[in-house]
């Protein structure tokens, strides 16, 4: 056995190091689990709607009986939009553009079965739609139009139509592969287009096409460029802000309230996860403190031995190394076990996630692992520096 280690392991207190080990293990596991849980839950929210961030609100004017009787317009005027845009809680405002021409869509499921329906298109500025720009856009003259459908349509088909007729249920993936025949008509013209479904949105209760296409089609088929918007899409900096609710009430506007709740939930979840991770971090910091105290005590108890080693020609670096390796070894072991523990717990909740959300795609654990390794490196560097400086204080003994 290495003689230096044989000397320096004297006075190592197993209970102290075990205390550090378990405290750090608990702290590290909580941090990793918190981080991974957050990543996993984010994936749920994102899989629910990948085109719209949670911080977007869709606002329209309240339609009451009075509106219908008086014929008061439900469209937003320019001053109203400007006023909204100037509110502090608003980051940006986008206008919904509606189609001013006829739209008829035909869904061909298999030979003989097809749906055909009159419908409408809407568009919002592209920066509000989170789809790769290659997928979302329109080349004038092309007969292919990307479309985002409301998820309700799929549910309506799956749980209503298909259920009652004993037809197979469709997943988003299959449906995206199906082409949609679209007929546009206006100003005496009628053309056929092919709709390509790029996704489903549970937040946008409308059939969305790219802004570019909408602008062109409105002019081409309806001879108009602008249609007064009846809905606005608004990015806010904090969806839980009370000022939003009061502003909407004051102006008699409505929003997709449950989505506001959903974003409140994400916000709360984020805070809870942050608190849990904070607790983990505090435990880890305390355990780091225990480790440093243990090592300091150990160095103190073995100071004569360390001094003698230095005097017979051992360098401070060489003398520090056994303790540095000991702490690094413990840190690595803690990280390894914490990762295993995190994965074990994750497996349990992932099963639940998958049963609740069939479309749930398991996110990778790379970020969490990376964070764990970063933490390990930072803590180990601090350990190494602290031990070396403690040994140096023996070297430079105060006379």
């Amino acid at each position: 056995m290495n003689l230096v280690w044989k000397l320096l392991r004297q006075h190592i207190s197993i209970p102290q190091f075990a205390g550090f080990f378990f405290a750090n293990l608990v702290g590290m596991t909580i941090i990793l689990l918190g981080l991974q849980f957050y990543t996993d839950t984010q994936a749920i929210y994102q899989s629910e709607d990948s085109f719209m961030k949670a911080d977007y609100l869709i606002i329209n004017k309240r339609i009451g009986s009075l509106t219908t009787i008086t014929g008061k317009s439900s469209a937003f005027t320019l001053p109203e939009v400007q006023d909204l845009d100037q509110q502090e809680f608003v980051e940006r405002v986008g206008l919904f553009t509606s189609s001013a021409y006829d739209v008829k869509a035909t869904f061909k499921l298999d030979e003989g079965t097809s749906f055909s329906t009159e419908m409408f298109f809407e568009s919002v500025p592209d920066e509000f739609v989170d789809v790769k720009s290659d997928d979302w856009g329109y080349q004038q003259g092309s007969h292919e139009v990307p479309i985002i459908l409301p998820r309700n349509y799929l549910d309506l088909y799956n749980f209503g139509y298909a259920q009652s007729r004993n037809m197979p249920k469709l997943s988003e993936g299959i449906l995206s592969a199906i082409r949609l025949k679209i007929d546009l008509a206006g100003q005496g013209m009628r053309d056929e287009y092919e709709g390509r479904i790029v996704g489903f949105s549970s937040r946008l209760n409308t059939i969305l096409v790219p802004q570019q296409f909408m602008d062109w089609a409105n002019e081409y088929y309806a001879g108009t460029k602008t249609v007064a918007p009846t809905r606005l899409i608004v990015e806010v900096n904090n969806p839980t802000d009370d000022r939003i609710t009061s502003y909407l009430q004051d102006n008699d506007y409505e929003t997709d309230q449950d989505k506001l709740d959903a974003s409140k939930q994400t916000f709360l979840l984020r805070i809870i996860v942050a608190i849990v991770m904070g607790v983990g971090l505090v435990i880890s910091i305390l355990s780091f403190y225990i480790l440093m105290l243990s090592v300091y005590l150990l160095v103190e108890k073995n100071s004569t031995k360390l001094e003698n080693l230095l005097l017979i020609g051992y360098s401070p670096t060489k003398v520090s190394m056994p303790y540095q390796l000991l702490t690094i070894g413990l840190n690595v072991l803690v990280l390894a076990i914490a990762i295993v523990a995190m994965l074990a717990v994750r497996n349990v909740y992932l099963e639940m996630f998958e049963s609740f959300f069939p479309d749930f795609e398991t996110p990778s654990i790379t970020t969490t692992l990376l964070a764990g390794v970063c933490l390990l490196v930072v803590v180990s560097i601090l350990n190494v520096i602290a031990i070396k400086s403690k040994v140096m204080s023996i070297w430079k003994r105060k006379d």
């Binding site: 003689l3 230096v4 044989k6 000397l7 004297q10 031995k305 003698n308 080693l309 005097l311 017979i312 020609g313 051992y314 360098s315 401070p316 140096m392 070297w395 003994r397 006379d399």
Partner: protein, 214 residues
């Protein structure tokens, strides 16, 4: 390293002392290689302090100590490590052995660092000093006289230009004292090194080139 010069070196505790009679403190003294010195001292005259200053262990002195003209007060950690491994050897009065290790391990811990002596050479020294049977005994279970001999062997397990031995035979009989003297001078001669022996009374009988009164 060719020479060690003490330039008006004086322990700080002696600064206030008037009429200090010393051939070392506050004088200019030069130790050269291949020569034998005896520093004789009474108790409390700073004999061990002198060793500590030269070994870079303590710095509570005035004046300067020069190794080949370089002031040791400015040496960096890495320089001292190198000096303690390759240029200077010191047999401490308090020995500074590790009681948890055996006699052989105490020597090995140094020899593994320097790789200076063969195992056979070390065993021969143990035999010559009459402690071969104690080779694998824990230092803590050995008498001070036996420990002194182990410490001497350890001090010889490195290359050196100067070797300082601080009261090396205080607990040894005449025969063992003589053997210590022989081993010390033989190894110093082999390495072409200077030897500085300190003593407060009983000292090794050698042909000293210079005797200094501390």
């Amino acid at each position: 390293m060719k020479e060690i010069v003490l330039e008006h070196t004086l322990p700080k505790v002696f600064v206030q002392v008037k009429d200090l009679q010393s051939e070392v403190w506050n004088q200019t003294v030069t130790f050269e290689k291949e020569r034998l010195y005896l520093v004789e001292a009474n108790s409390g005259t700073g004999k061990s302090s002198l060793c500590s200053y030269i070994f870079g262990y303590r710095k509570d002195y005035e004046g300067r100590i020069l190794f080949d003209g370089a002031d040791i007060a400015r040496f960096k950690t890495s320089q001292w490590v190198k000096i303690r491994q390759k240029s200077l050897s010191l047999l401490w009065q308090e020995l500074r052995l590790f009681p948890e290790l055996t006699a052989m391990e105490n020597v090995d811990i140094k020899n593994k660092l320097t790789g200076q002596q063969t195992k056979q050479q070390i065993e021969t020294w143990f035999e010559q000093l009459g402690i071969a049977d104690r080779m694998h005994a824990k230092i803590g279970r050995m008498s001070f006289g036996q420990q002194q001999r182990v410490a001497l062997i350890r001090a010889l397990c490195q290359p050196f230009d100067f070797i300082f031995v601080d009261e090396p035979i205080s607990h040894l009989d005449d025969t063992n004292s003589r053997i210590v003297g022989e081993l010390l001078t033989a190894e110093a001669k082999r390495q072409g090194a200077g030897v500085i022996v300190t003593s407060i009374g009983k000292h090794i009988e050698l042909n000293y080139d210079k005797v200094l009164k501390l």
